[in-house]
């Protein structure tokens, strides 16, 4: 055995900083043309959703009964609807509803799924039993039936009436809540399984051995390592929420009367298609097709970028 002195050259060299999970994922996404394209599409939809309200502030009062059901033309690129309103404006305003519903529903579902999954996975015992029972029971009922039942139950209910946080559950607020409280199951399952795995890893054991409390371990060591899953689920859940809004609006249980949405446009066009008025349905379906495709591809690429196991 020999002893060696430390190499001064090595000591003097700057320590190379490793890339974080997020930084690495961002770099990978940036290099992926499909992910960039989809991100731009999503960004454009968000911009349109925000901008449409300013471009068409008085859309509901733009009816012109003498221009009803006109096909696409230079004046109306996407044609006009039954009240003579511009279908392009309606489609853009519909994007706002869809994007809002997608965001709000997931803003409820993902944190809920994350919280329940972490609690069940980490604490185990009866808490886990309760969480598993809850999501198993919910999952055993067909989602769309439950959604419809919940929307029916919400009919006519207004919470905090007259205050600035008034929630009309018959309309779009009810849609957020109904979709949110029924869409957390997938996230919860994944988070719970990942938590079960993480809590037995060495770094968590070390944290426990060093005397850290359970809450601190959860907040500092486990949840941060689950966030990428939450984000992926948020992206993919967006698609589900948009589709569900369309289905519910198609069934007359979605947004309030007068609120333009793709679901109500497709529902309206159901009557129009028979007599050859295709433009409203095509506009809504095409708008939905593009955003759903973009979200799906982006979600896939995000999962690839954030999940080390999927890297080749």
């Amino acid at each position: 055995m020999t002893t060696t002195a430390p190499n001064p050259a090595i000591l003097a060299a700057p320590v190379q900083q490793g890339r974080s999970l997020w930084g690495d994922a961002f770099r990978r996404l940036r290099r992926d043309p499909a992910a960039v394209a989809c991100f731009l599409v999503i960004g454009a939809y968000v911009a349109l959703a925000v901008g449409a309200v300013y471009w068409y502030p008085d859309f509901l009062e733009t009816q012109n009964y003498s221009e009803r059901n006109l096909p696409p033309s230079a004046d109306h690129w996407f044609g006009t609807d039954v009240f003579g309103r511009d279908v392009l404006a309606k489609t853009l305003l519909g994007a706002r509803v869809s994007m809002t519903v997608g965001f709000m529903a997931n803003a409820i579902a993902v944190p809920l799924g994350l919280a329940l999954g972490v609690l069940g996975g980490y604490f185990g015992k009866w808490i886990d039993d309760l969480v598993v029972w809850l999501y198993t029971t919910l999952a055993s009922i067909p989602g769309i039936i439950l959604l419809i039942a919940l929307k029916y139950a919400f009919q006519g209910i207004i919470l905090f009436e007259g205050t600035f946080i008034e929630l009309n559950l018959s309309g779009i607020h009810g849609l957020y809540i109904a979709l949110g409280v029924l869409s957390w199951i997938g996230t919860c399952r994944i988070i719970r399984a990942e938590t079960l795995k993480l809590k037995s890893l060495d770094y968590v054991t070390a944290a426990r051995a060093s005397g850290q409390g359970r809450v601190r371990i959860l907040v500092r060591h486990i949840v941060p390592n689950l966030l990428h899953l939450a984000i992926i689920n948020f992206t993919l859940g967006f698609v589900g929420a948009i589709s569900a809004e369309v289905i519910l609006s198609f069934l007359g249980l979605g947004v309030e009367v007068g609120t333009p949405s793709w679901g109500t446009m497709i529902n309206a066009a159901r009557l129009d298609l028979v007599v050859g008025r295709w433009w409203e349905a095509v506009a809504a379906c095409a708008a939905m097709f593009v955003i759903v495709l973009a979200l799906n591809i982006f979600g896939d690429r995000l999962r690839d970028a954030l999940d080390p196991k999927l890297r080749i």
Binding site: L60, L251, L253, G258, A268
Partner: protein, 632 residues
Amino acid sequence: MGKFYAIAGLLVLALVLAPVGFLALRKKADYGDRTVLYQTYSAKVKSIDPATCGDTTSASMQGQVYESLYTYHYLKRPVEIIPQLAAEMPEISEDSRIYTFRLKPNIHYAPNPCFGIKPDGSFRTRTVRADDFALGLKRVADFHLQTPLAWSFLSERIVGLDEYRARCEAYREGDFSRYDMEVEGLEAVDDLTLRIHLKAPFPQLIYVLAMQTYAPVPRELIDYHLATEPGPGDERRPIPISRRTAQITQVEQIVGTGPYQLTHWQQGALMVFERNPEYRHGFYPTEGEPGDAEAGLLDDAGKPLPFVDVLHYECILEDMPAWLRFLSRQTDVSGIPRDVFDTVITPDRDLLDKWAKQGLRLSKFTDPTVFWLAFNMDDPVMGASKSLRHAMCLAFNVEDLIEVLYNGRGRRAVNVLPSSFPAHPIAGPGPYYRYDMEEARRQLDQARSELAAVGRLDANDQFPLLTVDLGGRDETSRRMGEFIRQQFEPLGLRVRIELNDWPTLQQKVHNKQCQLYAMGWHADYPDAENFLQLYYGPNIEKGTNNSNYRNPEFDALYDQVTVMPDEHDRNEVYARMVHMLNEDCPVLLLVEPMYYVLTYDWVKGYKRHPFAYGMTKHLRIDTQLRREMGGR
């Protein structure tokens, strides 16, 4: 591998074809060489019991089976009431309180096991008696049967009938001994004479008794079908009282005198009526109104009815599939869905040539129906400001509504009565049932003061959010909701549209939970009283005055007019009552709809009747022509 793909391919093919095969194996209706009329209907039949009938779909189906004392002449307009099971018009006492009805002899019920079974296994029948009508009226008054519509016409009318209803409450639903209780005002003098004693003159009684709701009911039906059930062997055993229901709900329980008997009923899918072999008292009319003979409507004059052996009704809720079925010649009669209207009808409201060449014929009718938006007068906002109601009436462009959502099929309702009623022109148009935004704004300014005085403006001194309830969740209702918003928002009123299914809306209206809601009324008989009772104060409790309108002066006139025998005098009073409604505006009047009906050339004798049901017996099908034209 090739074998795998072959098997997989076959499996997929088998799965795809399985439903087709399954449908092909389903037994198709086979009516042999009998003449069949094929039609669709678009709402569920809620009742097959005459007493509980309360909707037009049920009434039109029941009209094939049940008959009452009087009916309407099929062809004459203005409508004319004629005897049906009665032999003649009633004998009315001098004080107009006693009506004596003589029945036609030898009118038989459709054969039914409740009358007994012949040795050859066929069912017996019996003739109609006066006490069957008394039983029918007692059932309408039965506390245990849900008869809101039928009872609303008889309540407080017949001596002893209200007391009978009250006494029924003490009986259990399954205890049919209550039908043995005497009612002072219902007297079966003999088998063919019925006498009704009224508390006060009621000139509309004849019209009321032309509704099949008051059809005769044989006691055997109650004792056999509702009180007993099949037992071991051929015997029947009593149903325990606790398990009995008083309502007629099964096909075999239908016992009527009409031209058809219901032989098959699949709720929400199919109804089949077949010729009643005992029906011998109906004949095609020999007179009509001018033009009927030229239209071929008197070709079958004097011939025995019915012409068609089987009525095959399919329930198709959506109008577009029903329309496509009609176009493929699978049905004989159809309305025109709103969305294809412009492709069928010319701007001059005639049938496009291309359809006429395909053997279609167009008939246009204005039914005695009025649609409106009702203001709930008990609502603290709607009830508090007459000017607000005026403003909303003036701001609503009904002509646009008719053009945009009705394809021009209708006319603006200008007072609460249908325009075909004699009192309608006497009353004239209401001053607020027109489109005038300037006047609407003036009225709204006035409304602001009225609502401020009762503290009903919101914190910013603005009009509160108004809620309009509609009875439907479909696209048509949604469009109606959007249109309503478009009318009120230029006035500065904020409006929320609430879409409900129909039972929910009815419940909300009943509980007075609505502020404004869409409603309408189809005349039951050609007397303005039928519409004006919707605003009579005491009818709030009965549920027919659901705008909750109260006006003592109006109520006093109503009490006075309902006992006036002379129709001309009545119309003068009706006009005064309509003036009050025109001023108070408890409803925002919308449309008197116009109906366009298409029939194929092979359908003969079609003429829509505004009031009567059960007129299908007058239709004749040229089956040879139908086959030649590619029909069924």
